[in-house]
């Protein structure tokens, strides 16, 4: 029975995109310059759009209503990695988080696009075009922050030291994944992790950042969350959860 395993994959993909998109959107109106405010708001909207595509596939597969999933689940029911729920931090932190995520997507999506479950493959191919642009944008920023001033270098290095074990959680196998990989429905987590390391380590070293030593992922399971997720959801879900006679839609 592969359907629960496939649902787990889709939910993880969707939750990562949703929560990251929400954190990115917190920069809207606060980015360091107007043009970048627009650029990062675009990225935030793209990520939430990708989440919507993944939730749609999940609905087709097992009937879950995306709006119920997004606005009426408790923090413990979310299956995103902890990296995306961390507060937005400074600009270097948000840019580096987005870069590490984009670089993982750039490795994972082509493998999903080539794999055996057609709706998933088609969606992955569609999302990939946008992620290629995100990666170009965040790479440009990481390069400039790392090689800009002492202050910008210090900040992006501090972000890298903090985010590294969190990023590694992106490659933890999901429940039931062993059933899907041999049938080429999803790529093996270890393969994606290796491809990601081969892409990000030379890039980060090349712009003068010290890449942290291999570490244990920040959390073993996507069922574990930091308190930051509850704060984020309390805000994001507050309107949908309004009740009472004065609420009209």
């Amino acid at each position: 029975m592969t359907q629960p395993a496939l649902s787990a994959q889709l939910l993880a993909l969707a939750d990562d995109e949703l929560i990251l998109g929400h954190r990115d959107s917190e920069w809207t109106g606060h980015a360091p310059i107007l043009e970048e405010d627009i650029a990062f708001a675009n990225i935030a909207q793209d990520e939430i759009g990708h989440a919507s595509l993944w939730y749609g596939l999940l609905r087709d597969l097992d009937g879950h209503d995306p709006d119920r999933l997004v606005f009426f689940r408790e923090p413990a029911e979310y299956r995103n990695v902890q990296m995306v729920e961390l507060p937005r931090g400074d600009w270097a932190f948000s840019m580096l988080r987005q870069y590490l995520f984009d670089a993982a997507e750039a490795q994972r999506l082509p493998l999903l696009a080539a794999d055996g479950y057609r709706p998933l493959a088609e969606t992955a191919a569609k999302i990939l075009t946008e992620e290629i642009y995100h990666l170009r944008h965040t790479q440009a920023w990481i390069e400039r922050l790392a090689q800009g001033t002492q202050e910008s270098h210090r900040r992006v290095q501090a972000a890298l030291d903090l985010l590294w074990p969190y990023a590694l959680q992106l490659f933890q196998p999901l429940p039931g994944e062993a059933k899907l990989a041999p049938r080429q429905i999803v790529p093996e987590a270890g393969v994606v992790r290796q491809a990601w390391l081969q892409a990000v380590v030379p890039f980060l070293s090349g712009v003068g950042l010290a890449v942290p030593e291999p570490a244990e992922p920040a959390a073993a399971s996507r069922e574990a969350h930091t308190p930051h997720l509850a704060d984020l959801l309390a805000d994001m879900q507050s309107v949908a959860r309004l009740e009472g006679p004065e609420v009209r839609w």
């Binding site: 310059i33 107007l34 043009e35 970048e36 627009i38 650029a39 675009n42 793209d46 075009t129 946008e130 290629i132 642009y133 170009r136 944008h137 440009a140 920023w141 400039r144 004065e246 009209r248």
Partner: protein, 190 residues
């Protein structure tokens, strides 16, 4: 001290059979980020197949009036030793409100901007010209054909909606007028 990033003028081409035309400007620390900012600011929704960005400092500009007064021909002698290089020529051809773009009209080979202007007047001088822009070809960063899919592709299958699509204002007004307490948006209906 001026902490503002340099300004880049943005030229957008909607279809391969149309010229690039000036669509606005962005600020950016360098040309690559200017190109990306141009994409994000100007072409996330509408149709586009190519983008150029040029630092504002590299645009040599003449208006119809300044051409009549003194185009600066004598300054030409200073740089005449340079080898000829390509210059792109842009022209504003209409004052009508919907067509005030500075539009690409062609390329010349010249040793100085003023020499390029002289050639432009000879080659492209027919018809109205309110503004001439002369830009050294090497000062332009152009999106590459390989960029097109990730730069311009995502916009194609997304609906572009004007703010009034969501009818927020109308709905707020309706909500306010049907509120028994008679309040407006501040009146407690939230």
């Amino acid at each position: 001290m001026d902490s503002q990033w340099p300004r880049y003028e943005v030229f957008e081409q909607e279809r391969p059979d149309q010229p690039h035309r000036n669509t606005g400007s962005v600020h950016a620390p360098d040309a690559e980020l200017a190109l990306q900012n141009a994409r994000d600011v100007f072409v996330r929704r509408p149709e586009c197949c190519s983008l150029w960005v040029v630092p504002e400092s590299q645009i040599y500009s003449w208006t119809a009036e300044s051409l009549q007064a003194d185009p600066g021909w004598e300054a030409e002698t200073i740089m005449l030793m340079l080898a000829p290089a390509p210059f792109e020529i842009f022209k504003k051809q209409s004052q009508r409100q919907s067509e005030t773009y500075v539009t690409h009209v062609g390329q010349v080979s010249a040793r100085t901007p003023v020499e390029a202007l002289r050639q432009a007047l000879a080659q492209f001088g027919t018809g109205e010209a309110y503004v001439w822009w002369v830009v050294p070809g090497r000062a332009i960063l152009r999106s590459q054909p390989g960029d097109a899919q990730s730069f311009f592709g995502p916009a194609r299958d997304k609906p572009y909606r004007s703010p009034n699509f969501y009818r927020v204002f109308t709905q707020m007004r309706e909500a306010a007028s049907s509120d028994p307490a008679g309040g407006g948006p501040q009146g407690g209906a939230a």
